[in-house]
């Protein structure tokens, strides 16, 4: 389907052109991976500080507490606590998960899996990464401003995020950082969409694309459509803060034609709900592929999976109101949004059943990427089902703003996406660096992570159901929440366990990059295009553009001789 063949560029020679200002999609992908992992560490530390405060209020944060909060003898102060949960959310969503799944694996996988030599706009790609770096610097600088970083929650609702609620410069920097990051992601999205439309290898129709590419493509579409919506909201919020416009200013401004704080919520969630799917769609795609690869059989109903992901993408744009049931919406609207939200469970159930169908009677290889993929199936099932309680107006009115919500979205966004990201890292590491990750360490990492995160997020759902509100510095000043101290302590220990488990990953990653066993061309024995070229992938990817002759999941075909998979470049073996 390719419209033309890209030229083979010469390999860059200098350090700067090779590793820093590189046009190569694989290097940019790795840069995004480093970026994301670094922020995952920062965001994770913030999460631990939040958890420490909730389990042991008034006790100094161990090891680094005295260094970070000298005025309070190492105890996290209340205003810092608000900054911590704000920045934890912002960093994890925009600076850790987005770069890892969309930035790193989007860049790395798209050209390799569709048989292209690079993205269509390599310069735009490089610009996208460096804008993301500028944005990261702005965000990190905001931590050191006089009144501290943004502290109005990751959603930054006015009036908390206006000058009334946050007079410091931190919130303004937050707005600018996210705006720039939005520009950067939109650039990436334009690039991904154009690449997938125009550069698929000859013979590769849309349904011959691996589901990973489907997920990334739909994500890019949502990004291109809805990041500008957030951009508009952030611009207006910045104008309100800097120039004194009154878009989101309520109350006092009513005499001169009032602003409306709820407008920001509308704008934010018109973007925010698709954002949930922006984060999860790549993980769905990757898991759909990996389940098939490691169950050694074709993906069950691959077309139905692709189409149901597409219909979820479409539906995700019309359900945002379920985040705002408690904003005095008319009951007609809340019920419409409830119906539409419930409708999403139909396509979700279709592809979830397809995942189970893929596993059914497979000869499963329990290697690390597969363990993480199975982990995604489990936690996404839990996350998706608990979503129904929040989609229903009558239960949501009770559960709104409790830890149940926190548990729910961590199961879907944090747990599923994080495990999906790890599955992808373990799976494509050989193609990225030409070496294998250690399996034993990988399995230890998986088991500690899955135990830890279920302890954390299941615990959160329980305390939320018991009525514990989110974003409170010390909830135990309320008498009815005092009995929840032990379970909060349990959650915190689970979080510490999970944080500890990540050390295995960091060690494994760094060690294997230099000292791991050298990877063969196709260590997992699968047939998609990236495994037809050497590991690590050469600069121009394909010496000759491959011609695609069959689908991506041709595994376990009984007519195959000697091996149980075939490459996409081979004719489908029939009798």
């Amino acid at each position: 389907m390719a419209f033309f063949e890209q030229h083979i560029h010469e390999a860059p020679k200098t350090f700067l052109s090779k590793y820093v200002f590189s046009f190569d999609h694989k290097v940019i992908g790795k840069q995004f991976l480093w970026y994301g992992i670094a922020f995952l560490g920062i965001g994770g530390m913030m999460a631990l500080m939040i958890r420490w405060t909730l389990a042991f209020p008034g006790e100094a944060f161990p090891l680094i507490g005295h260094f970070l909060f000298p005025q309070t003898n190492g105890v996290v102060p209340p205003d810092t606590y608000a900054m911590l949960f704000t920045m934890h959310g912002t960093i994890m969503i925009f600076y850790a998960i987005t770069p890892i799944l969309i930035g790193a694996f989007g860049n790395f996988c798209i050209p390799l899996m569709i048989g292209a030599r690079d993205m269509v706009f390599p310069t735009l790609n490089m610009l996208s990464f460096w804008l993301a770096v500028v944005s990261a610097i702005l965000l990190l600088v905001s931590l050191f401003t006089p009144l501290g970083a943004a502290a109005g929650g990751w959603v930054s609702y006015p009036t908390l995020s206006l000058l009334i609620g946050s007079p410091g410069i931190g919130q303004t920097l937050w707005c600018l950082a996210l705006f720039i990051l939005g520009v950067s992601s939109t650039m990436g999205a334009v690039n991904y969409i154009a690449t997938i439309i125009t550069l698929r290898a000859p013979g590769m129709g849309y349904f011959d694309m691996p589901l990973t590419i489907w997920g990334l493509w739909l994500t890019a579409v949502l990004n291109a459509l809805f990041l500008p919506v957030l951009g508009a909201g952030l611009l207006l919020l910045t104008f309100d803060r800097v120039f004194g416009t009154t878009f989101f200013l309520a109350g006092a401004a009513a005499t001169s034609g009032s602003g409306d704080p709820v407008l920001f919520q509308h704008v934010f969630w018109i973007f925010g709900h698709p954002e949930v799917y922006i984060l999860i769609l790549p993980a769905w795609g990757i898991v759909s592929d990996l389940l098939s690869f490691f169950a050694r059989k074709p993906a069950f109903g691959a077309r139905a999976t692709a189409l149901s992901m597409t219909s979820i993408t479409v539906l995700s744009t019309v359900v945002y109101g379920h985040h705002m049931y408690t904003t005095q919406m008319s009951p007609l609207l809340t019920q419409s949004f409830m119906m539409l939200t419930m409708t999403i469970s139909i396509p979700s159930a279709i592809f979830f059943a397809n995942w189970l169908g893929t596993l059914w009677k497979g000869s499963i290889r329990f290697q690390t990427p597969m363990l993480f993929s199975l982990g995604v199936v489990f936690v996404f099932g839990l996350g998706g089902l608990t979503g129904l309680y929040l989609a229903t107006v009558s239960t949501d009115l009770y559960l709104h703003d409790t830890y149940f919500v926190v548990g729910h979205f961590h199961y879907t966004m944090a747990a599923s996406v994080l495990l999906g990201g790890f599955a992808a890292t373990y799976f494509w590491f050989p193609k990225m660096f030409g070496r294998m990750l250690n399996e034993t360490l990988g399995k230890i990492h998986f088991w500690i992570s899955i135990l830890g995160l279920n302890g954390v997020f299941m615990g959160m759902m329980i305390v939320g159901y018991a009525g514990m509100h989110r974003r409170i510095y010390n909830p135990f000043v309320y008498e009815f929440l005092e009995k929840l101290i032990p379970i909060n302590t349990f959650i915190t220990w689970s979080a510490i366990l999970m944080g500890f488990g990540q050390l295995f990953f960091v060690y494994n990653f760094v060690y294997s990059m230099f000292k791991g066993p050298v990877a063969t061309q196709n260590p997992w024995e699968v047939g998609t295009l990236e495994w037809t070229i050497p590991s690590p992938a050469p600069v121009h990817n394909f010496d000759e553009i491959p011609v695609v002759k069959c689908g991506p999941h041709e595994l376990g075909n009984p007519n195959l001789k000697g091996r149980d998979f075939q490459y996409q470049t081979e004719e489908l073996v029939e009798v």
């Binding site: 390719a2 419209f3 033309f4 269509v120 706009f121 939109t186 999205a189 334009v190 690039n191 969409i193 154009a194 439309i197 125009t198 291109a224 459509l225 809805f226 990041l227 500008p228 919506v229 951009g231 508009a232 909201g233 611009l235 207006l236 104008f239 120039f243 004194g244 416009t245 009154t246 878009f247 401004a253 001169s256 034609g257 009032s258 602003g259 409306d260 407008l263 509308h266 704008v267 018109i270």
Partner: protein, 190 residues
């Protein structure tokens, strides 16, 4: 051999054209969503307000916005003239002049509003006028930058690559003209 190379080159040009069309279209959809969001916010204020413009405020004079509209409309026409034959740079230069004229009229408009005592912080309607025209003007400034970049390029070479660039920049310029027209009609006229 020469023929095959010529065909490859031709195919390459066609491919590049498809790519730049797809890329620019997606980018414009993104830009359109930005302005659509602003318009949605405006519509919400407008339809929930008991009177519009809000009490105690007069409509700004139509003269400068109308001149801006005329200027950006003529600039789009002159760009179409330029796109017909990109070797003829007069159309492009005229577009740049009209674009700069648009910016001049916008700054006169902001000055006029201030002299009438309508400041950024005087309420929701001035907020909308200022913020929307600022955001649009920022795009116009970027687009004028692109026009200069294009002029620099066509002065050196006139080929398929130049035509592709002219067509992409043109899409953006016409798009901004349409956005201005919608803003003019909804904010100033209606």
């Amino acid at each position: 051999m020469a023929k095959i190379m010529a065909e490859n080159l031709n195919q390459n040009d066609q491919g590049q054209e498809v790519i730049s069309t797809v890329g620019m279209t997606v980018a414009l959809v993104s830009f359109a969503m930005l302005f659509a969001t602003l318009m949605m916010g405006f519509a919400m204020f407008r339809f929930t307000a008991p009177v519009w413009p809000p009490a105690g405020m007069n409509r700004p004079s139509l003269i400068l916005p109308a001149l801006s509209t005329l200027s950006i409309f003529l600039s789009s026409l002159s760009y179409i003239w330029f796109e017909k034959d990109i070797a003829n740079k007069k159309g492009l230069i005229l577009t740049i002049i009209l674009g700069l004229g648009f910016m001049l009229l916008q700054s006169l408009l902001w000055g006029q509003l201030k002299s009438q005592g309508i400041f950024v912080s005087s309420g929701i309607f001035p907020s909308i006028i200022y913020a929307f025209t600022w955001i649009h003007a920022a795009h116009i400034v970027a687009a004028i930058g692109l026009l200069f970049w294009l002029l620099n390029f066509v002065l050196k070479e006139v080929n398929a690559k130049a035509r592709r660039r002219a067509s992409s920049v043109g899409k953006f310029w016409h798009f901004l003209g349409i956005v201005w027209f919608i803003m003019f009609m909804t904010i100033f006229v209606l």
